[in-house]
Structure formats: C-alpha cells, structure tokens
Symmetry: C2
Subunit: 390 residues, 2 copies
C-alpha cells in the first residue's frame, strides 16, 4: 500500500478502466479509420468482404471449432444473447445460472418475457459467489454467463459441462472472449461484443452457433414473434447469408473498420494467448495490491473465480462496513469522483446493480503499468474519503 495521505505523483497514461465500452487498443487513432468503407452500401461485395473479415479473423484468432457458425448481430452482446434466446428456447426445459446482473437479465427474459414454462434457476447465495454448477441438468438447455461482469465472478473453467449433452449450452461470454481461455467446444451458443476485450465499438454483437444449435432451428420453430433484426432462420433453415457477412441490419462500417484494426492489433501482439496474458497480468497487479491492502477485497469469494477482465472490489474497512447501505454507495462514488477529478481513472465505480465498491476493467487493451499507476490513487482517494467520515 502506498502512502495514502499524499497524492501520487504518477498518473495512468491511459486512465480508461470502463467495463464497456472499454479502452481502445494502445496507440488507437481515429485517423487509422481513413480507409473505412463509409458512405457505401455494406451489401456491396467489398463491404461484405470486410464483414466477412471480422467473422473469419475472429474465428481464427479465437480457435473457434470449424463447424461453429459465426454472425454479426445488432444490439451488442445483449442483441446476440436475445437473438439466441428468442430463436432457440422452449424446445426443452431450461436451466438458468444467475449470479449477478446479466444472469438476472437473461432470467427475466426467459421467465417474464418468453414465459418458458419449465425453468430451473441456479442462483448464487451471494453477489460474489457462483451457483452450485454440479447441480445443472444438461439434458436441458443451460443459460449462463462465462464471466459475471457486474460481480467480477467467472466460471473457473468448462469442466462442469459434459462433452456429451442433450440440451444446448447458451453462454453469454462477452467480457471473457479474448480476455480469458474459453472452451468453445463446450458451448453451443456463444455471444460477445466488440466493445469489451477488443476495445471496439458498441451496437454490434457476435453470435456463434454449434451444429447442435443449428440443428435446433430445424426441429423447433418457436411460437413467438421474432423481430427481423434477430431473425436467423427461415422455414427451419439457418439464414446462411447472415453467417456469411450479409448482416440482417445495417452495421456501422466505421465500427467495422475500427474492430478490424483491433483484431490486427491482437494478431500483431501474438494472438489470443497474448491478450489472455495481458488480462492475467492486470489481475495479478490488482491481486498483489489487494493482498497488501487491509481495506479491500475481491467481491468474488473463491480465488478461482476472480475475473481478470471485470475486476470487482469491495471495501472491508470497519468504518466503511459500519455505514448504512446508501452511505456506502455514496462513499464509493466519492472515491471514484476524487480519482476522476484528477484524471487518474475513469468509470471505475461498481455497476449500479452491484454492491457498492469498485470495478476496474483489466481486459487486454489496458496496460498493466496503467493499472499499477491507478492503485495508489485508490489508496489516496479512500483515505481522503474516510477522513470525511471521521
């Protein structure tokens, strides 16, 4: 722990720690987007080639199984998840694993909106825990997030998922893809967005489907209205062109160019192993500080589940924990505001649905030196704020 009473001398060079949209790759410059296919039809073969390039480069860099299909979907990761839920759910019973805001969002969709009649919910005992994953029934469809972005709790691996299963595994992996090792072979539906680990733009999501998920579209036609922007099948067959860069909606070709430069950056630094290592290094920097710092802990209870991308922290100082909940929230906001006023770290407050505390994006576009430079500012801001409550 640094001296918390004096302002740190050093500031992060790129003080961007938002969990979405996340920091741009190092060296990003909008002038690099000069060659963007703007003012043109994305249906032109050249526009379509760029959309295909996003799909094919992502597939290659991630090592997606060759028989998984991959599409770009409007509405960021949320749009991609909802495309999957609207098209696929209802054929079997559904198991939902929910342990923070996004899991609860999909639970709401499944129960309140889609009204799937047979749903088993696996909840965590607390915001910071995981449900008992050994209780999940894989003869049914399973919906879960790989990384719970708002609690910073991830599944440790995919060992709990059987290779041989009857239901589909539907995984919201948005803050995991490119930031941690994801076992795609265990996932029948995987979604992510450009705005997380790639530092790309919002409003565009990615949807990968395994052969089993594609097969489901043939045997099951849901009796519900599916908006055109989420329609991926017709008459029981996958709309192949959607998975071939045609895109059901108009994408932003500026955002397409931007994510292509981000994918180039991934390739240049050594591919997904390098991006995963960068996230890991960011978590390690925070973990060293947490061990040395008496007033802070990870929100994640089990060390194996601590997310290296959305790093969520809670304050354990007795004078903080003694405060009533709304004052804890105000305290945490004050800490963030002090850091922000000094231009030392932006958007590090916990998600509004999470317990008060901090959330520091540690994805690959963030430099570890910047994470290290941020931490003394937290010490300083926490001490200053605690002083106000003396």
């Amino acid at each position: 722990m640094s001296n918390p009473l004096s302002k740190p001398a050093l500031k992060p060079e790129r003080p961007w720690f938002s969990s979405g949209p996340c920091a741009k790759p190092p060296g990003w410059d909008p002038g690099d987007l000069k060659g963007a296919f703007v003012g043109r039809s994305h249906r032109h073969p050249e526009g379509r080639a760029r959309l295909r390039e996003v799909i094919e480069t992502s597939r290659r860099l991630l090592g997606l199984p060759p028989d998984h299909r991959l599409a770009i979907i409007p509405g960021s990761d949320t749009g991609a998840v909802e495309t999957a839920l609207w098209n696929l759910l209802g054929h079997t019973g559904v198991e939902v694993c929910a342990w923070e805001n996004f899991g609860l969002t999909w639970l709401h969709d499944i129960v309140e909106q889609l009204r799937v009649p047979d749903v088993t919910v696996h909840r965590a005992a607390s915001y910071g825990g995981l449900p008992d994953l050994s209780a999940v029934d894989f003869s049914r469809d399973v919906v879960f997030t790989w990384n719970g972005t708002t609690s910073g709790v991830r599944v440790p691996d995919a060992d709990w998922i059987p290779a041989d299963r009857d239901g589909l595994t539907i995984c919201d992996a948005t803050s995991a893809v490119f930031g941690m090792d994801v076992d795609f072979a265990k996932l029948d539906v995987v979604t992510w967005s450009w705005q997380k680990a790639l530092g790309g733009e919002g409003a565009h999501g990615m949807l990968a489907l395994s052969p089993a998920a594609v097969e489901r579209l043939a045997v099951f036609r849901p009796d519900r209205p599916i908006p055109k922007v989420f329609r991926i099948a017709r008459d029981g067959a996958l709309l192949d062109e959607v998975f071939d860069g045609f895109f059901v909606n108009s994408p932003s070709m500026l955002a397409v160019e931007d994510v292509l430069t981000a994918l180039d950056w991934v390739e240049r630094i050594g591919g997904t192993p390098a991006t995963v290592a960068r996230s890991r290094a960011n978590l390690d920097a925070v973990a060293r500080w947490v061990r040395a710092t008496p007033y802070v802990e990870f929100l994640a209870e089990d060390p194996r589940t601590v997310s290296p991308t959305s790093i969520c922290l809670r304050f354990t100082h007795p004078r903080f924990t003694a405060l009533p909940a709304p004052e804890q929230a105000a305290f945490a906001r004050r800490v963030c505001a002090r850091i922000e006023e000094n231009g030392a770290g932006y958007d590090i407050g916990a998600h509004r649905e999470a317990p008060p505390g901090l959330r520091i994006w540690g994805g690959p576009t963030v430099d570890t030196a910047d994470v290290e430079a941020l931490l003394p500012w937290i010490d300083w801001a926490f001490a200053q704020t605690l002083g106000e409550y003396a």
Copy 2:
C-alpha cells in the same frame, strides 16, 4: 443527353450514391472524431450528455413538436420501427400501407410475426404507385413509410392524415427525415436512422413518440415477449431514461460523435430548410436529365410522389424492355458495373427486391454537381451495354 458513345471527361468528386449507409457530409474526415467519448462508459454523465445532444439537436433542427419524446434505439431504423410495432400494436385493428420492400417488411412483421388479428392492407397496384390513401381508416392504427426507399415513391404530403384521429399513425420516415418536409404533428410514431440523410453510421435508429403513443403504453400491455433492447416501457409507464439519453443498449460512441458532426454540418449550412433544398436540387438535376433522355423514366408514376432522396429509375428503351426479366436485371447490373469500374458512381443499382433499374441517392449530403457529373456516365454505360445486346 450527353454523347453516349464517348466516356465523359468529368467524374463526380464524391461518387457516393448509396441509399444507405449514405454519403458522408462534404468535408468529412475521421480525424474530426478525435474528441469522441471512446473507451468510456456511455452511462457517465459526459457520455449521456452527448447522447442527449443527439436527441436535443435533432429535435430542434427538425422542429419536432415539443411534446414528442425522442430516443436512440439499437438496430438502425429497422430496430426503431420494430420497437414501435412490438410495444404498441394489437390494441386496435391495424391499417398497413405497403407499396415497396419496406412497407412489405412491416406487413410481414405485423401479420406473420405479431399475428395482429385484424389487419387491412392497402397495396399499390404496381411497384411505382401508391395505395389509395383516401381509403385508410384512422380510427385504427396506421403503419406506413413516408418514403418508399426501394421504389422511390413518397407520400406527397400529410394532408390525407386527419389532425383528429383515434388510432396511432406509425411512420417509417428514415429516408425522408432531413431530406424532405415531414409533418411531424400528423405522426404519432416517427422513426429514422443516422445513416440516411445525415450520412451517419448504421446500427443506430431514432424513435419519436407523440403523447398519444406514450398514452398507448399506459392503456395497452401487449401479450408478447419484447427483447430488452426494444423495451421502452415498464408497468405501463414510459422508461423515461431511455428518452433522456440513457439508451437501453451500448451505442457506438464513435458513431455518436460522427452524427454530432453531421448535425453540426446541418446547422452550419442553414438547418433543415437547407438540407431539404439540397435534396430538391439533386432531384431537379435528375429530372432535367430524365426529361431530356428517351430511355429512362422515374419508377414513381405520379410526379408528386417522386422521392428527392431515393431516386429510382427504370429503363424504357424498347430493346431493354423486350428482354426477359432476368436479363433486364443483368443488363442493369452491367450498367452499374461499368460506372463503378470507372470510379464514377458507386452503389446505384436498384434494391434487390425492386424492378431492375437504378437508384441514386439524392439526399442532402450528396452535392448536386456530383449528381450532374454522374448522369453522362449513365448515358455512356447504357449505350455501351445496349451495344452488347445488339
């Protein structure tokens, strides 16, 4: 008509005539997006301020009625229209006016997806005509496009809509807004996107609701699943924050900055009257050429309905019209390819669902001098292609 046998000497400076995404405003440079709020949370007050600025500047420049609410919606204009249909339809019977691809898309949504039981369809007799608008029953909800982008047929005005009506008028106005005078007071729901007349980016739509449309959300709760990205009400009340820049999904803040520069440009050249005048001038240039050219006509049958933004043309040359339909399509593609190969005009082919021919975007971001420079290239390419069929 220019000499069709020799290649024109002059090329359009900006040969971008795509009907979406459309040409960027003159002088556009991605370096101007340097100040974009990227790598940051769009929920931060500063991010939210920029989203609000898009809403408030659009409202002011368009002269939207003060009691209309305005939101940014994911999924471009399609997302905005489907948000309206999914949230509002089914309370009364529905009248659908359909005369080209997009009207037919909404008709499909309403009948096949939403399965609204009581639908009256007003179709045009031909691709190029309008339905009989005097037959529309305004005691029911009415869905129509202001400008049929794929046939280039627009409603001439809003005189056919009574000021006093019981149903809602739901208008897809995406290629009309900023390109022609739209009578917003006659519209309860208006949708558009940034990628049309503003030359902005895809994946983002705008949705305006009149007080009557907001009231509908209170008295009618549709019994259908609505994806989160399209949810604009809860427990019968409008989600105010969505209409206050909160955005239900993650937008691209690069696209937000881009549309703000486009709105600045609109302001600088004199506001919506100036953008409407620019579109009008583009149509006038094409109309002069059509009058002087024996082999081409507007697809729109009634001169009062010719769109000044999506200018759709058909070839009338007897050797063209004598061809079987697939050969007509190949002929038209050949004309476009010749022009494109010379870098004289991009994306001017008719929409894939429309009759073979040309579609030239004449929205305000296109310079009239460029339209004028394109036309001799059409003469040349048409003559060359006709030669191949001799």
